[in-house]
Symmetry: C2
Subunit: 457 residues, 2 copies
């Protein structure tokens, strides 16, 4: 396979050539124009394509605003490297231009001493608001929000509001709504840029604004906020504190990142343990993250073995029972994983009410029984034609029916119970459900078989 | 568990009471005001809370625009019901107000005859653009985009552009950017509302606009477009056709839906078969969707059984081999599923280059060998202390080492191969990988065991 470049990769390569040309010919003004014209994400891509020597020159010639944008688009390790190259003074300037949420995430990863050092070199106002952001719980809306919103008064005219916005515009360039607050800073309404833009000059903001505003609270879980933005198709949501005061905004692009990382977590959950492993993770890091899970599962797997050991006499008399062991254990695991997949996605950022839970359990029970009957009949026939023994066929069919019902319920109830008791449902990963179902299914299978042993002759 | 209402559910209940009060007192004007003030998503929620009789009244009193919004927020079955209640004439009015992408998705689900009937009752311009949307491939950007964008000319002044926008404003109320086209309708730049809003009156649009525009093509896969919006943090992307002409826009809210449904698909993939099953799916629909997969897996599972059958003599001599069978098969499945989870998320909307693929395979090989050595040593010791036989311990340890390496590689390579040959990687679901690994692991295990049978005495 020759390396295939996508259109996007070709575009980045072309931009990189252009940037290198300007850097090497020391056309600094042209380079600045170039940097202002290219999207921050592309700047980050170009930066990654460059050799270390060129990277340094690239960073030193970028205007502060573009440096801030570029730094926001890179990962934590790269950010540390960039600030190292820029030196303390320029780094502080860049940090003060960065999105507060992104900067808070960067600071969160540092040692407390290093974080304090950086915060104390910043302007007091920036440092205060960053300290506030960092005081919210890690997965809360407060950590994600930006405090750079525009609040206007309901008594303003569109013209006055426009003048106000023009004065403070630079702090809020990506925000699509204007929030209307009263004298106590409580949120009373919302106006879109679009509505303000086309407003009759004589109207008051109070006529233009929507009064029913969907809000999130600063301590709310990020996943819940993500679900609201998704359901309502908003571009941003206002964040209020416990006294109903407007204290920030979260935007759809932050939410998109949350939704993607939730999805990654769910898939990792289904895969069992592989959390935080991606294409770039080093082999030994991946081993360290996956091994503890596998060793736990190894020991649980031995429980299945000891069940087989317990029924050694039965097995020695009818070795044919061993032929159907992998199929029964496997099928129980499979149906459990299918149920788990439905529950894992369904739980996402949603609170379940009791009627929903019962409806779901009832449905999965019906599913388990129906699937059990179909598969049970099929395997009874197969076992009879293969082994020429109706009793053996019946034992295997009934065992499969029983284990498929149990498997479906395990895959449904375990994650529901864990989430009910606020245990991290990541514990109910696919492999764990599969391994538990292995144990249950072998116990049922050999239990039924040894009960009917006399009839097997 | 008493039913627990979330704040959101309480809010909807309160709105429903309010709506019911207005409906029953026949305060139609107040009801219209109420409907205009409530978010479309909440209107849909209220609608779902009402009894059928009230639902009809609710729909008949809603203004057309709110009806269109409500219909966009509901599923296909509900849409059919709503149009049934509204009657043909009002339905056509509502459809002409709906988002074209949403309407195209609704029409796509209908029979060709019914679709034609509806299209022929619409205004020619709407019908033409819907027919065009429906002509694009199902998963392409063309199906998702809206043709309601605003194009302005580079020679315009901000004032002229504003006037133009004001005239056509109603068609584009949710769009955040203005696209600049030349006389051939080719895209030459983009201006945000925000920039236009704060522009110097004497500037030309060509001074304000960004000339490097990230675009998507009309036939591009929706997942790829989703990745671009995610990477660049855009609110919308312009869509161009093969002759570079601007033909539509896709917005971040559509993309959010795509990202979520991709994630659902990935989890379903890991769970095997459970695609399109959620909390509201009827039991028998769920059975119909899950059963084919399980029956296939049942037959594949019997292959494992026939491997055990093939080694019947070996097993009869050393029944203790059966004790470790579930553990070996289970562990191979588990490590395969972990690798699969990494690949499934990594493949999402991304094209893999050859170096990435080889790097990944090499890493997973290292992971498999390391995990295999650790688990192999542990199980050798356990088997020795349990069965008091070093040879048996060695056989089980070496088998586990071999099967864990194979399991890791299967979980990595099968989805990669499928995606390389453009087979739907949903085929490489978790249960399939697990079942295949069952077969491989039993074959290796019994193969090694029967080789060393003589030494086991």
């Amino acid at each position: 396979m020759p390396p295939i470049l996508t259109a996007q990769e070709m575009y980045i390569r072309q931009l990189t050539e252009e940037a290198l040309g300007l850097l090497r010919q020391e056309r600094t003004t042209d380079f600045e124009h170039f940097a202002r014209d290219v999207h921050p994400y592309d700047l980050a891509q170009i930066y990654h394509e460059l050799l270390p020597h060129d990277q340094n020159r690239f960073l030193h010639l970028l205007p502060i605003e573009q440096l801030a944008d570029l730094t926001e688009s890179t990962g934590n390790a790269e950010q540390v490297k960039i600030f190292g190259i820029l030196g303390p003074e320029r780094s502080i300037d860049v940090m003060q231009q960065m999105d507060e949420g992104d900067l808070a995430r960067f600071l969160h990863e540092l040692t407390p001493a290093k974080r304090e050092e950086l915060l104390s070199s910043m302007q007091v106002s920036s440092a205060t608001s960053l300290r506030r952001l960092l005081s919210y719980p890690p997965e809360s809306v407060g950590r994600l929000m930006s405090e750079r919103f525009i609040a206007i008064s309901a008594e303003d005219t569109p013209r006055a509001a426009t003048e106000h916005i023009r004065r403070v515009a630079s702090i809020s360039d990506t925000i699509s709504y204007l929030y209307v607050t009263d004298e106590e800073k409580k949120l009373v309404g919302v106006v879109s840029y679009h509505d303000l833009f086309f407003a009759d000059e004589t109207a008051a903001i109070s006529d233009l604004m929507k009064k029913r505003v969907v809000t999130v609270t600063v301590t709310m879980d990020q996943e819940e906020a993500a679900r609201l933005i998704q359901d309502y198709d908003f571009l941003a949501l206002p964040v209020i504190d416990e006294s109903q005061k407007l204290c920030g905004v979260i935007t759809v692009d932050d939410i998109l990142d949350i939704v993607v990382s939730e999805a990654d977590e769910d898939v990792a959950k289904m895969g069992g343990g592989g959390k935080d492993i991606d294409f770039d993770t080093k082999a030994f890091v991946a081993v360290r993250r996956r091994l503890p899970w596998l060793i736990l599962l190894l020991f649980i797997g031995l429980v299945s073995g000891s069940i087989v050991g317990y029924f050694e006499d039965t097995l020695q008399q009818i070795v044919a029972l061993a032929f159907f062991m992998p199929m029964i254990a496997g099928m129980t695991g499979n149906t459990g994983t299918q149920s788990l997949a439905v529950v894992v996605r369904g739980l996402n950022g949603r609170k379940l009410t009791a009627p929903t839970v019962w409806k779901l359990i009832r449905r999965e029970l019906v599913v388990g029984v129906s699937i059990g009957i179909c598969c049970g009949i099929i395997i009874t026939l197969i076992a009879y034609f293969w082994q020429g023994n109706w009793v053996l066929g019946g034992i295997i069919g009934i065992s499969l029916l029983a284990t498929l019902i149990i498997g479906t319920l395990t895959g449904t109830c375990i994650p529901l119970l864990l989430s009910r008791f606020k245990v991290d449902p990541a514990v109910a990963s696919g492999p764990l459900i599969t391994t538990l179902n292995d144990i249950l299914s072998l116990f049922i299978y050999f239990g039924i078989a040894s009960r009917f042993l006399g009839m097997l002759g």
